[in-house]
Amino acid sequence: MKLTLGFLFLLCTALVLATGDTPFSQLLQADFAEWNPLWHERLPRLIVLFLTGASLAVSGAVLQALFQNPLASPSILGVTCGGCLLVLPVFFFQWHLNYPFALPVAACGGSLLTLLLVYALARRKGRVEMGTLILTGIALSTFFLAAQGALLYALRDKWQFVQMLTEWEGGTSADRSWKHVHMQLPLTLIALSGVLYYRREINLLALGEEEALSLGVDVPTVRWRLFLCVSLLTGAALAAMGVIAFFCMLLPHLVRLFYGSNAEKLLPACMAWGALSLATVDITLRAFDVHLLSIGNVSALIGGLTFLLLLTRKRSFSYA
């Protein structure tokens, strides 16, 4: 399996780096000594795709383990919408043009606040009921979407702003550069390290908080830090590529079918398959010259359809 993954990574990398208007043979010519599409355009795009895919898949897997619920994911719990809402003023006041880090700061801040709010609202007598959690997430998502809708309605005359936001919310890899890599990479490195560091605790938390506590896990601290990690992963991905819906819920579920629920195996597998899947969607769109749809659109369409398929077949749709 590792060999297959390695091969697929190489294939994906080669395809992303080879896809573009400039013929590959020209890329090494002297004309491109200073600005090389390979180095300045395609490589950052590849890194952003890999980081985003890995981040979203891992954040979904962690939330599903924490809440012992296969439906839990940043988009279902409203985390993505919360991040989006705080990003809106950054775009409107154009802070991101002069201070690129304003985007990930706003997205991560919004994601974290939402996650804490969902958790606090869904908690009853020290326990988090799964149904309540999902409903709270959906309620907050609805509220944030409504707030965002209200702001956009108020700003509907600013058509360029509305167009830009529509493109960003579509989730796209167009025009990604080293700036996006630098926005995302440090946050992702820290968050992924944190998640991998707590992989044993994630396994225990998947059994339930009481069980984890009895097995010696400092549940509040670990949970808080994992929330932080998920917010960083989701916020950084949001800042770098925009909204990629459904990906973070469906992919961990599919990976779990093959790798099982053990976080020791599940998390690295989610990282690898998340990165590969997102890069594959991008390559496919570019190869077939599809400009009407963004990566976010496609991933949501595929995610939604697959999710429905899984539901209708009722094939082991549970966390364990």
């Binding site: 573009g20 208007d21 400039t22 200073e34 600005w35 599409p37 300045h40 355009e41 775009f91 154009q94 043009l97 002069n98 201070y99 690129p100 880090f101 958790y119 606090a120 908690r123 020290g126 005359d157 360029q160 702003f161 167009q163 830009m164 493109e167 167009a174 025009d175 550069s177 080293w178 700036k179 630098h182 926005m183 990479l185 440090p186 946050l187 820290i190 908080e209 009481e210 506590l213 400092d218 549940v219 509040p220 601290t221 808080w224 570019r286 400009h291």
Partner: protein
């Protein structure tokens, strides 16, 4: 079980604080290192200044004055440009059109008080045209956002019109009793159309304006519908003459590209007025998706770039710092020209100003 982390013992607390500090310091250092060079104070785009060559041929101020509704000036300019074209043996408006413009300018100035209709323009195109050929007090409302575009009509003019067209002003609009409404067949909300129809307001629905001919047609229709045929006709002739005059000004179009910028670059479409003006100026209009524009742009390596951008965006430092764009000949040689996006993108009779700015940007 506690919801939030419990208070840690002092030593453990310090360790925890150190952990967070190190994480924040790592991210802050990273961003500081990679983004510090990019931080620039938000300066407005340098204002356009007419080059002496262009200003001596056509005065932007005069164009502006005429487009605001100075019909005598319109007539004078059409005559003046025609004389200059005769003198230099250049293309000119057909003599009958020149004479007609002269006649109309005189006639309009002799009959200043005309019966006024109460007009409701729902589109920018209609509002712009009507403010020029009618008097501001004839208009009962303006499209939302029109007042903010002060490059053509300043606040002193638009303040005379009390209302903004909105979903929430239907009753106020009804009370204002408009006698005709100018709407768009393309994007006016069906409910708004129905509301106007229910109020018994005659409606003119204009199709999407994609080029100069479409705008001229709309001017003619507007003039006819509000009983200002002469004003409409003169404005049409003036626009034709002004564009012809601007066409004749030498410009540098070799290896020049026009782009728009808002968050990223994009090329204007052929099917809008900006695209039509770009083509008229002799510039190429490649069909490239935003998706792949940067690589294409580096390949084309234009010698001159004309960029339409909002005035709030200072794009030059970005172009100079970006490893890709900084390689372009245009950026290296300092041949990047900025035009005001608001003027370029607004589909009204002010397309004359947009074309003027474009020609100015193309001066060697």
């Amino acid at each position: 079980m506690k919801m939030w982390p419990k208070r840690l013992p002092l030593k453990q607390g310090w360790n925890s604080a150190l952990l967070y500090f190190l994480a924040i310091a790592f991210v802050a250092t990273w961003w500081l290192f990679f983004f510090s060079g990019q931080v620039t104070p938000p300066l407005p785009t340098p204002p356009l200044r007419a080059k002496p060559v262009l200003e001596s041929i056509v005065s932007r101020q005069e164009l502006l004055q005429a487009l605001k509704g100075d019909f005598a000036l319109m007539g004078d300019l059409v005559l003046r440009w025609d004389r200059e074209a005769q003198h230099r043996h250049l293309n000119r408006l057909p003599p009958d059109k020149v004479l007609r413009a002269h006649y109309l300018a005189k006639t309009i100035s002799l009959t200043p008080n005309k019966t006024a209709l109460k007009i409701l323009p729902q589109t920018y195109l209609a509002a712009g045209i009507l403010l020029t050929i009618a008097t501001p007090t004839d208009l009962v409302a303006l499209p939302r956002g029109f007042r903010e575009q002060t490059y053509l009509f300043d606040a002193a003019v638009t303040q005379q019109i009390p209302l903004d067209v909105d979903h929430y002003t239907t009753e106020k609009l009804f009370l204002a009793r408009p006698q005709i409404a100018f709407v768009s067949s393309h994007y006016t909300h069906p409910a708004a159309l129905q509301a106007l129809a229910n109020q018994g307001v005659p409606i003119h629905a204009s199709p999407n304006c994609e080029n100069v001919a479409d705008v001229l047609r709309e001017i003619e229709i507007a003039g006819r519908l509000i009983g200002r045929e002469q004003e409409g006709e003169l404005l049409q002739l003036f626009i034709e003459a002004a564009l012809l005059k601007l066409d004749q000004i030498p410009k540098e179009t070799k290896n020049t590209l026009f782009l728009s910028y808002y968050d990223h670059f994009y090329l204007p479409l052929e099917s809008n007025i900006t695209g039509a003006l770009v083509v008229r100026a002799g510039l190429p209009l490649p069909k490239v998706q935003t998706f792949e524009l940067k690589e294409k742009l580096i390949q084309w390596n234009p010698e001159t770039l004309v960029i339409a951008t909002p005035r709030s965006i200072n794009l030059l430092p970005f172009l100079q710092q970006d490893p890709g764009y900084s390689q372009l000949q245009a950026v290296r040689k300092g041949r990047v020209r900025f035009v005001d996006d608001e003027v370029m993108q607004t589909p009204t009779h002010s397309l004359v100003l947009a074309y003027y700015d474009l020609i100015e940007a193309l001066q060697p």
